[in-house]
Symmetry: D3
Subunit: 135 residues, 6 copies
């Protein structure tokens, strides 16, 4: 299995509901450094897993919808705790849709799975990974 991974980041504000979150129930924020790993069993005709320039551009577009936002105000997250693991899934879903919609190029049809990792500090990260076929 081949992988290619690209990195970017976004910075948001949010708060959590639930006693388990302790002081994180207050409005606070985070920088998330995001790694998106693309996987496929065979390279395309150019010797690539994915066009890395296109992958970086699409990731930037996906993160731009979250970057510099207060996630508590976004309708799509109403009633949800936007934990790091939850947001990893959000980025996964949007990147997977971009693959399906052809926004990463025709050869990206050969991709079989993605893994999205969000680093929230030097001490913790969360990830979501799944097959693309399951979609």
């Amino acid at each position: 299995m081949y992988s290619v991974c690209v990195r970017d980041h976004f910075m948001i504000a949010h708060s959590f509901a639930g006693e388990v979150f302790g002081p994180a129930q207050h409005m606070h924020g985070a920088t998330y450094v995001v790694d998106v790993e693309f996987r496929r069993p065979q390279l395309d005709d150019d010797g690539l897993v994915v066009d890395i320039g296109l992958a970086s551009a699409v990731l930037r577009e996906v993160l731009a919808l979250l970057n510099y936002r207060n996630l508590d105000l976004l309708p799509e997250f109403a009633g949800r705790n936007t934990t790091t693991e939850f947001l990893a899934k959000v980025v996964f879903d949007r990147m997977a849709t971009a693959v399906t919609d052809g926004r990463l190029g025709a050869s990206a049809a050969g991709l079989t799975s993605l893994r999205v990792t969000l680093h929230e500090s030097h001490l913790a990260w969360a990830a979501f990974e799944a097959e693309l076929a399951a979609r």
Copy 2:
């Protein structure tokens, strides 16, 4: 599959038996930077893989039994080479027991696997991972 990972470290002395170890047969030591990755297919009701505060606290307790010790003197390791890969399994077993015993909270029952990585330098690391169901 969702993952959450927390990081901590411990510092120990030990020596190895066997010619394969060369100069590491002498008493020496290491800093191990430890990553524990918790995995589950579904988030809990709070949107979490695991209570990260609880996970960090339990990891600290587990490492406290090894930290600042000469591993050659610990009865549970008598006759064993406490290599990095061996210690990764030790930390895995103790963290897995903590999950099973409910020390990471009731919702941690949804965890399905763990991966423990010990970084011994900027050039080398070892890991152990397994399903929790196999226990």
Copy 3:
């Protein structure tokens, strides 16, 4: 010159005033990974620059006043842009006061300067450093 550095982090929400900030004028947030470097020309009688346990504990106390907060609501920052470089100075001042007040132990009187670095992402950091004698 000797140095010792300890690392911790905090997570906050804030917004900025001024066109130069572009989308960062919205409420957003950041994780700041903080390095505090303590400097002195001679070691103390124990062979130390500073008691690293005490230094870490005091840094944790200093960051606890910022962690999980919306900085826009803190009276001491009213009318100020809490940029990364501004916050580096805030942490510097509070750590320097702790040194002066003896909270890092008697031997910390030998410290001559501090450097505080705040990493805001994998792409950017800010720092403030100064002599302690200038205080």
Copy 4:
């Protein structure tokens, strides 16, 4: 499953053919920081996944054939784009052959899979992994 990983690097020049590569069609170069992860379900009699000294030495030999070279001039890569993902497979194949040939020691026969990762910058990496049994 146990893992041990060792790190080294190599520095090469090359150029790519195909419009998808944009300015990378020019002669340019890269530093590749290489991680080779060795995996097996049981430790050997010494408590090891692999003799880390031997693994590092063999990796160095494998990379020496690529280091400080213009890959466009190497006959074995004629007509191929030596992308990061392609090179990850090249290093995988050579390390796998070394395992099979006994160059990592007799106990390395217990290894079941390898993963080779090439970091090309702080923003991107590529990897290739496979079972050794498939060879």
Copy 5:
């Protein structure tokens, strides 16, 4: 003294002249991860060392003239070994000129020094730093 640092990278081919370089006399290449640190004793009216968006954009322009190039073919480097330390000075000079020319904004006139670091692998880096007043 305040600092702000931004990171980017470029990938080049080159060769060196002189026996001291050993195998690096062959055409090879490198990824350079570049950190540019901007320093000044007082923040500007917005609470900034430098407009980080502008600084990143100018750095990108400066590196674009080197990125994906064979440095042996660039007239400005004829007869010179483009070592990592030499290139750190090249990037310094071009960033310093950008400051002087006002390309980092009017408030950048308050900058007093720069430090440019080029990371060439996980094992080595080079830097050049100087006062801007000396120009």
Copy 6:
């Protein structure tokens, strides 16, 4: 001012005397990842701060005298706490002597200062730096 930095590591056992050290009074150990930064105001005739191959080889020799040792048993450290900051000075002194003795080549006579940093974990490091002229 130009800098070049090379990285290596060593792994030792030791114990500390003094209540300030708490549990570190027990025999324990550490991995120290070592950065040695060489500085000079002008490059040599080859465009170098130092011959990086020679610098790495000498650093390896210096660290070999400490690597895989119990520092409590080394006569030169009798009665001393081999703290991270103390060891940074030890490595500094030995590297500075190597420069003075010509072991880094004739052109290394142009070096004016060194900085030695020992990273003991992901949370802490210590350093010693000084002019070489002061020797």
